[in-house]
Symmetry: C2
Subunit: 321 residues, 2 copies
């Protein structure tokens, strides 16, 4: 949660004159998104989200993110749709920051998702992968193999503070992944952060995907492995094969996985577990105490990583072969 | 700004079954209110505010606050209206906290209010004072004379850190106010915190007053003096007599001030300046660095206090006698 920037009413009204968005009735800073400041606007036309992009987001990436939402939305995926300004641009400027006006998606994220929800998420992820096929812009994944190495170097010296022996374990893991990482799987636009708080439901029906600010080009099956990590483990650390099965079935009902993708799944899952372990470890070691940001426990992802290490084949995730 | 408590979707849905509020479509934690956690809900019927009362609010005060909003609203004042549950109660329980569902007020607070807005605020304040006349519950003002003394004792030892000589100055001020404080002015329900962020406008039209969580019984003219302090000084510390005149005219167009109230205004304004100085001083000295809460400069109110000390009569505030 974060609202970094307050907006003066006059500045916002001026900003809105560039759009066909109706008359402004109210705006509230909302506790959503960690990288940006978000406001929920009521206008005489419809509720809208206003996003101000703070420093942590690369301005040069914004055309990719906004263009992708527009592209996916045009292909029928339910996701936030950037409103174009009268001059056609998707991006404006407000309070000294790049800013976009985005459609408001009704729905709630599930604190306790069940297998039936995992099936819907799997399906929506595959739909996103298919809908993204002809998106023309490209964005490399900064948080893939090379990125992990750089991230690890920032935390390595203090890793054993978190758990003794961690330094050696992660070094070996990075070496293993560098050698074993699949080279020729189908790739395309991936969400790369499809955690429960980025998927909205109305009742048991999935109503939309949000937060495309980690989206990039990478292996499609890697995105599947991120969702297995994010959705199919219980709070006690146990893998829930029923959820895994539902998610993979949901995914394959739209886009069947190839044999090579299936074979690579355990390695990809080790990679995605390591990726979230490393960012959480870095945040854990660098976020000051009392900073009113919820620190996420990196050990959760270390345990997931160890689980994937002892997986023999994707069947153990619940995949019906 | 603050959202202290997250709510699980299922808990919220369960909570809403006690109300005739429609189907839940979305809820977002909003950056509004410092003492409580606030959420903006969209339902199939209307937008609503859900407030969870955190520790800093006395649970025994809640019937006063919620009953007051209901009372004022019934008398035509535009303010948030608590929704009764099916059993008639205004207060429920959610995530282990007392919780209320309150109507959503469209409008925005003005970062740069002008004299015409001060006139509207004066008018609305008087309307609130009149509408509150027959409200039956009572709540003494914990932040009046006695309360200031207690608050000061917590900061006194470190006051000279903020400005040398402050200790003596504030002690003298407390003694002066104890002796000079008016005893027999008209009293009633006051808002006690009607700062710009608690008054919503749509265009130049005042659309409502919010945040009644400091409301209490005290001198009505003391509430006027709080508004003079909160609305009629410029950022550079100068008193803007045009704004003061507009505010007092607006107030008196609904409820004329008596001669004794007018005579007491400079003393009351010293009191209200001291009250906000003391709470800000306390927060300044006790809030840890990096706590992501905006600390408000106590010296702003020290300067206002000094200004009021050299006021000869209420005419200097812009009051046409």
């Amino acid at each position: 949660m974060a609202v970094y920037t307050d907006i003066a009413e006059d500045d916002l009204k001026w900003f809105l004159t560039e759009y066909d968005a109706g008359t402004l009735l109210s705006y509230k800073g909302i506790a959503e998104g960690v990288e940006n400041s978000n406001f929920l606007l009521h206008t005489s036309k419809a509720p809208l989200i206003l996003t101000l992009y703070e420093k942590r987001v690369e301005k040069s990436d914004l055309p990719f993110f906004l263009g992708l939402m527009q592209h996916l939305s045009a292909r029928g995926l339910s996701c936030p749709l950037p409103l174009p300004r009268r001059d056609g641009a998707l991006l404006g400027s407000l309070s000294g920051r790049p800013a976009a006006l985005i459609s408001f998606l009704e729905g709630m994220w599930l604190r306790k998702p069940e297998a039936k929800h995992c099936r819907e998420v799997g399906k929506a992820l595959a739909e996103m992968h298919v809908a993204g096929e002809d998106f023309e812009l490209k964005r490399p994944n900064a948080l893939s193999l090379d990125g992990w190495r750089g991230l690890w170097e920032k935390s390595e010296a203090r890793a054993d503070e978190v758990e003794p022996g961690l330094q050696g374990e992660i070094r070996n893991e990075l070496d293993f992944l560098a050698a074993a990482w699949p080279k020729s799987l189908p790739s395309g636009v991936i969400h790369a952060d499809l955690f429960p708080d980025n998927v909205f439901f109305l009742g048991d029906q999935l109503s939309g995907l949000i937060d495309f600010y980690f989206a990039c080009n990478d292996l499609l099956a890697y995105d599947v492995s991120i969702c297995l990590n994010a959705w199919c483990f219980e709070k006690d650390g146990a893998y829930n094969i029923t959820k895994g099965m539902a998610m993979l079935e949901g995914y394959q009902s739209v886009r069947p996985l190839s044999e090579t993708e299936i074979a690579a799944l355990p390695v990809l899952a080790r990679g995605s577990a390591l990726r979230f372990f490393l960012t959480r470890l870095y945040d854990w070691l660098t976020t000051p105490e009392g900073a009113m940001v919820t620190k996420k426990d990196p050990l959760e992802y270390l345990r997931k990583l160890r689980f994937h290490r002892q997986i023999g084949s994707a069947a153990e995730y619940g995949l019906s072969l």
